[in-house]
Symmetry: C2
Subunit: 336 residues, 2 copies
DNA sequence: TTGAAAGCGCTAACAC
DNA sequence: GTGTTAGCGCTTTCAA
């Protein structure tokens, strides 16, 4: 690897001059500048970031921590963040915590040790002692997808989204409401869903709500084990539900497939709606709550820069949009 | 932020001793070690990675360059690499080149400048001058998904996969073959497909083969513009094809949807098969060529460690597997 | 407009 | 066992 010294020698100048050229310092003659540039090109010179960093410059590293990269939702988020980072000349260091708080802690610490300038974080849990430590390190942090007591955050109004789904179900004449949610993650949105249903006279029966236990994460192919028995229970009950809210697209696609295999008609018998509006919802024609992912990415970057300027905490909640598709409305899909 | 000097002063020893304690060097007395540790604790000392790196130590950084993060195929690959990296205590620096050779060059250079220990690379083009420079930098590199003249690589036997698809189409009695491929990327697999078809007496007519031009990348939602007009052409021709190979799942899901919207029956009129077997193929029931993604991830990590030990180039080609689903066989899906 | 030289925080010979 | 010292590659005064 060519160093600044090699370039200086090749161009017949001092390292200081090369440094000036690199940093576009005005006080370098056009002639010299040209000379240095061609030397850099010839040697395929790339400045060593560590050395630059050591002089108090920024590391160019942005840490991104997401639950997993199996769910296309987080991939979309990462794609948006990577694009934003590339745009502003930063690099993204990705880590997945697989919904394990222990991993979460480890990863964030590792990232801080690597000298990240900022952290964009989808935490395992809403709050934790880790947050306080993180705050003390002074690393600019933005929480994404959730709100936080400690950091700026950008999330979606999921409660409102859940209400929209309830309203949609009511609009299409559904009466017996059911849901599938992740315990400890989706409680608020599920609660909003139930309340809205109730306000229209539809009580969500306790035995029509299914919770994925905390331990049951997605496996390497994104499969949730509990879903199988849940579908069994849904189809075997006497008082069947006729509409179902599912916490995300991936789970919904699995449940719909399973319901159909068991002879159920979606949306005929059960209308289904879910969250995220990923590519899965698009190809499977699932009614879903869309989040403005790209906007979230942009805002996350804005928030990390705001951290040091203001002493109050920004919690941005973006509005979501219900995308109605066949899983809750329209043509009935039947297998002949 | 406390530095090693502060710790040394606080503990009443030299910086060298502190360094020894940090690196668990055996020749430090228990007493001194204890002293130093408590000083580190007191000052909340965290070693500065840049300084460590500058001394030629490993950065713990693995660069990963993929075309995009929209196609679930690359997300799966990234997920596998991230998991592997986490397992061996390394961090992944992701970059996407969006199939632009110019980006590719920029990104690889940036990554090298950041002091990556190794690069796992899905290049824009099979070979380029960039490879030679990269080779000269001595960064251990593994090419994934393609083969390379310069670096170890792990890829799939895509030609064999394409042949398998041709054989499958023949098995189910199809006669008029068509394909959609990406120009400059899929030439070899398409060629294998055509040859295999021909060897069974089915010539793939020139006007039944469609190429996505090089410029037409996936947009932010993964949509390929050329696909629209291709579907129009496919459905409007007099001598219609009755089987179609498509270069990947994402494109296939779009084409199938479009064909069905236009009244086409898949697989009744046209059997469709594609590559990658991502979650999209699973939920859409598309016959697809599965790649052993996790194995690829593991092998990529093995290959980067092999680079410096041997002077020959390893090109591992894994075997793929045809997963037959409804898009080419089985129940006909109709909309009522 | 340019060069010499002093560090940034850490490691690793080499002394003692 | 421990300290001294010379860098790693770069930036940045300070002089010239």
């Amino acid at each position: 690897m060519a160093s600044i010294k090699d370039v200086a020698t090749k161009a017949g100048v001092s390292t200081a001059t090369v440094s000036r050229v690199i940093n576009n310092h005005p006080s370098v003659s056009v002639e010299t500048r040209r000379e240095v540039h061609s030397a850099m090109d010839f040697l395929c010179y790339v400045p060593n970031r560590s050395a630059v960093q050591l002089n108090g410059k920024c590391s160019g590293l942005i840490g991104v921590v997401v639950p997993n990269l199996i769910n296309p939702h987080f991939c979309e988020l990462l794609a948006s963040l990577e694009e934003e980072a590339r745009y502003v000349g930063k690099s993204v260091l990705v880590k997945t915590h697989q919904n394990q708080p222990f991993q979460d802690k480890q990863l964030v610490r590792t990232l801080v040790g690597m000298g990240i300038e900022a952290l964009i974080w989808v935490p395992t849990e809403a709050e934790s002692s880790l947050s306080e430590w993180l705050l003390s390190t002074g690393v600019n942090t933005a929480v994404v997808t959730q709100t936080s007591r400690f950091f700026n955050s950008v999330s979606n109004n999921q409660e409102r989204g859940a209400e929209t789904i309830a309203e949609h179900f009511i609009d299409i004449g559904r009466t017996r409401f059911g849901f599938i949610g992740q315990d400890g993650v989706d409680n608020r949105k599920i609660s909003a869903f139930c309340k809205k249903a109730l306000s229209h006279g539809h009580r969500v029966e306790k035995h029509h709500g299914y919770w994925i236990p905390k331990g049951d994460g997605e496996n390497s192919r994104g499969h949730i084990h509990s879903l199988d028995s849940i579908v069994d229970k849904i189809t075997s009950r006497e008082d069947k539900i006729n509409c179902l809210l599912i916490y995300n697209d991936v789970a919904a696609s699995y449940v719909i497939e399973k319901l159909r295999r068991k002879g159920g008609n979606v949306p005929g018998d059960i209308a289904v709606a879910s969250f995220d509006n990923t590519i899965i919802a698009q190809v499977m024609n699932i009614t879903s709550i869309a989040q403005p992912i790209n906007e979230m990415g942009k805002l996350a970057f804005e928030l990390i820069n705001k951290t040091e300027k203001y002493d109050h905490i920004d919690s941005i909640a973006l509005t979501t949009k219900l995308i109605v598709r066949e899983s809750s409305l329209g043509m009935t899909v039947t297998k002949i």
